[in-house]
């Protein structure tokens, strides 16, 4: 079985604005592709024909690529400073996902959804969860990678408590839209798209570190966080660094009673990337299995229709079969418990 956990239809202005409603639909929102860093070639980012047509997605994913279930999480418009606009964009996005993707029975019910949260507005985030959580087709919540304050901060704690209770993991994805976010690097804006691309994983690492050091997992034992833009390999080496400093400075954070690396299996997941482990371009070597713990921590995700999409059929060819199975479906089923019942309903439509 093949579960693609990282599929991102693009909600263009013409569909988004009618759903946002007045007065916000009279205004403007950041461009969905981001205007700060223009990619070297427009075709690099995405195939323009593949932005938001469920039929096209179904043809490529279910037809050509052999995907059984695609978990979709549209990227939105970046960090939004106005809490009302943030809430309106999230509500519009979730409504669009439910109506346009999850309810289209002709695709065999093979699209699962993510509840998009307006994290700059915690109350609205909780309202969004309440609105959609009863719908079993939503199997995770999705939050933007860019934040004003890292996800370890107590501000977000009420959100994490609720989603953990509901069995919904939290997936973090970078919006291409830049909005009002902090600069991409600790030393200011970067110059080229390539630099932005290379530096992106470190934002997930900051979230990972602060979720651990702030004791979020100690207080919300059921919480699972899925990092969409960092490789498991980077996660592993940064956990080593974190645990070295934890041994030296844990007096500052005594609630962290476990070695930071030990938070990985119960709480951390990484969407697959071509740079997981040692890649020779076409396949990922099994060299680091047992060290990076990719066999437990990686969920296959193609990033379709974005430009860095990877092909599940070949990339893990060298991995032992049972481990391939875990990465291609088993780990996703474990991290997203709602997927199992979703699959049952899929095999017996209606």
């Amino acid at each position: 079985m093949l579960i693609d956990t990282s599929v991102h239809p693009i909600l263009a202005d013409q569909e988004l604005f009618p759903l946002i409603g007045k007065p916000w639909s009279d205004g403007r929102l950041p461009d969905p592709m981001g205007l700060r860093h223009v990619p070297p070639d427009p075709g690099v980012i995405i195939d323009p024909g593949l932005t938001a047509d469920p039929a096209e997605f179904a043809r490529v994913l279910f037809g050509e690529r052999g995907v059984d279930v695609a978990v979709i999480s549209p990227l939105t418009r970046g960090l939004e400073p106005n809490p009302q606009v943030a809430a309106a964009v999230a509500r519009a996005t979730n409504t669009w996902v439910a109506d346009r993707w999850l309810s289209q029975i002709q695709y065999g019910g093979r699209f699962a959804g993510s509840i998009r949260l307006p994290v700059t507005n915690v109350a609205a985030s909780l309202a969004e969860i309440r609105t959609w959580a009863d719908d079993p087709r939503f199997v995770q919540v999705a939050v933007p990678m860019r934040t004003f304050v890292p996800y370890g901060d107590d501000t977000y704690l009420p959100i994490w408590e609720v989603v953990a209770d509901l069995g919904l993991p939290v997936a973090i994805y970078d919006d291409y839209a830049t909005g009002v976010a902090h600069p991409e690097s600790p030393v200011g804006a970067v110059r080229y798209f390539a630099e932005k691309f290379a530096a992106t994983p470190f934002s997930d690492i900051v979230h990972m570190a602060t979720l651990i050091t702030c004791g979020i997992f100690d207080r919300v034992p059921g919480l699972k966080v899925i990092f969409g833009d960092a490789s498991v390999d980077l996660g592993r080496v940064m956990l080593w660094r974190l645990e070295k400093d934890w041994r030296s400075g844990r007096v500052e954070i005594p609630w962290v009673e476990r070695i930071p690396s030990q938070y990985a299996q119960p709480h951390l997941r990484f969407v697959s990337h071509p740079e997981d482990g040692v890649a020779d371009g076409a396949t990922v070597s099994p060299d680091l299995l047992g060290i990076s713990d990719a066999e437990h921590l990686v969920l296959f995700g193609s990033h379709f229709p974005y430009w860095d999409a990877m092909d599940a059929k070949t990339v893990y060819d060298q991995w032992p079969g049972p481990i391939q199975d875990r990465v291609l479906s088993g780990n996703a089923l474990e991290a997203m418990p709602r997927l199992a019942s979703f699959l049952k309903s899929q095999t017996n439509p209606q």
């Binding site: 070297p40 690099v44 200011g188 390539a194 630099e195 080496v237 660094r241 070295k244 007096v251 500052e252």
Partner: protein, 375 residues
């Protein structure tokens, strides 16, 4: 053979430990002010500092508690104690000294502080306290004052004791931005590597990340340096700085090592699609690291299972691009006898401990026996 008999015979010993990150300090503020010109000397007066880091310090002492002498002078300021702990007890053959003058909000004052620090270093640790030439220096430059930084490099470039330039990891923009190019050109002209060592200056946006600020010392100290060093490294690579300046070399000190492979691998994976926009000319971005960049070990990555780190070190080309450092006398000092995983390949171990640095800094492969050597 004991050190004594060897010394009698004027013998040489092979250099087996080069420590690429050692810190020394003025014994007091007056010692520093002696090197400051007016009006700064009067203006600074007795104020302790205008450039101290005010956040994110460790809760307990940032220096080794055993690196203070009975006099209570600053750690790393007493030559006898430094010689004993570093050259005798840790058996370091050569030490690369990094004293970066912390910057204030005033670029002119920063230039004067750097000059004072370099003058002091030249007359102390590179001269009377050098234990027979076992300490090498780094030219401290003010990165927010590019003309002064270039002038500082030119001023010291012929000095045999200075082996590199040193700057902090913060700047207003990633260091591949063109306004910084004259600094790299000056360093390359004199074949001086540029060492980046984390330093916080008064004007820096300390603890800033793309997603907000670190809440604790633990996360700041473990995550901030790789994130920032990576931004500069990507900036130099993508801006084509290494293409334009074939002699420009960089040492990333105390910023971690293992992170670089996954980050470079990510860039390399998509390089064909990305390279159209950027001046970098090579077909493999990893090759810039091999040819231009070195990393130092401390704080060396550790795991409950040391063999795991050893495996990652192999894959990250540690044998060619990693150099030992202890960070003496800071609290997170890594001892040369224990820093590397015990099951590391012997040849790789030797390259990391000394041979890579000997090649990179063009250091002698032997040194005279000294009375500081332990019998």
């Amino acid at each position: 053979m004991t050190a004594e008999t060897l010394a009698d015979q004027n013998q040489e010993v092979a250099v087996s430990i080069v420590d690429c990150d050692v810190h020394v300090e003025f014994q007091n503020r007056d010692a520093m002010l002696q090197y400051m010109p007016e009006p700064w000397r009067s203006r600074l007066g007795s104020r302790r500092g205008t450039s101290q880091r005010e956040s994110y310090g460790p809760l307990w002492n940032a220096r080794r508690l055993d690196s203070y002498g009975p006099s209570g002078l600053p750690a790393g300021s007493e030559p006898d104690l430094v010689h004993k702990q570093l050259l005798s007890e840790a058996a370091v053959d050569f030490a690369i000294v990094l004293r970066h003058a912390r910057g204030t909000v005033d670029p002119d004052l920063n230039a004067a502080l750097c000059r004072a620090s370099n003058m002091w270093l030249a007359s102390t640790w590179l001269d009377q306290w050098s234990a027979g030439g076992r300490f090498f220096g780094s030219i401290s430059i003010p990165v927010d004052n590019v003309p002064a930084a270039v002038e500082e490099i030119e001023h010291w470039a012929g000095h045999p004791g200075f082996k590199q330039v040193v700057l902090g990891h913060y700047s207003e923009r990633p260091l591949g931005y063109p306004q910084y190019d004259p600094i790299w050109a000056a360093a390359a002209r004199h074949r001086l590597p540029v060492a980046m060592h984390f330093t916080t200056n008064a004007a820096d946006s300390i603890g800033q990340t793309p997603v907000g600020r670190y809440p604790h010392h633990v996360d700041y100290h473990s995550i901030a340096f790789p994130v920032t060093y990576a931004a500069h490294l990507m900036s130099w690579i993508c801006a084509g700085t290494f293409d334009r300046l074939p002699d420009f070399r960089v040492v990333m000190v105390e910023g971690g090592f293992l992170w670089h492979r996954p980050v470079l691998a990510r860039l390399a994976q998509q390089w064909p699609k990305l390279a159209g926009e950027i001046p970098a000319a090579r077909s493999d971005p990893m090759s810039y690291v091999r040819d231009h960049v070195r990393f130092t070990t401390q704080p060396v990555e550790e795991s409950e299972t040391p063999g795991q780190v050893a495996r990652y070190l192999e894959l990250a080309d540690a044998a060619n691009i990693l150099m030992f450092s202890s960070d003496y006398p800071h609290y997170d000092y890594d001892d040369p006898q224990r820093a590397l995983p015990p099951d590391l390949d012997r040849d790789m171990h030797d390259r990391i401990m000394s041979r890579n640095a000997i090649e990179f800094y063009d250091l002698p492969a032997t040194r005279p026996v000294s009375e500081l050597d332990r019998a």
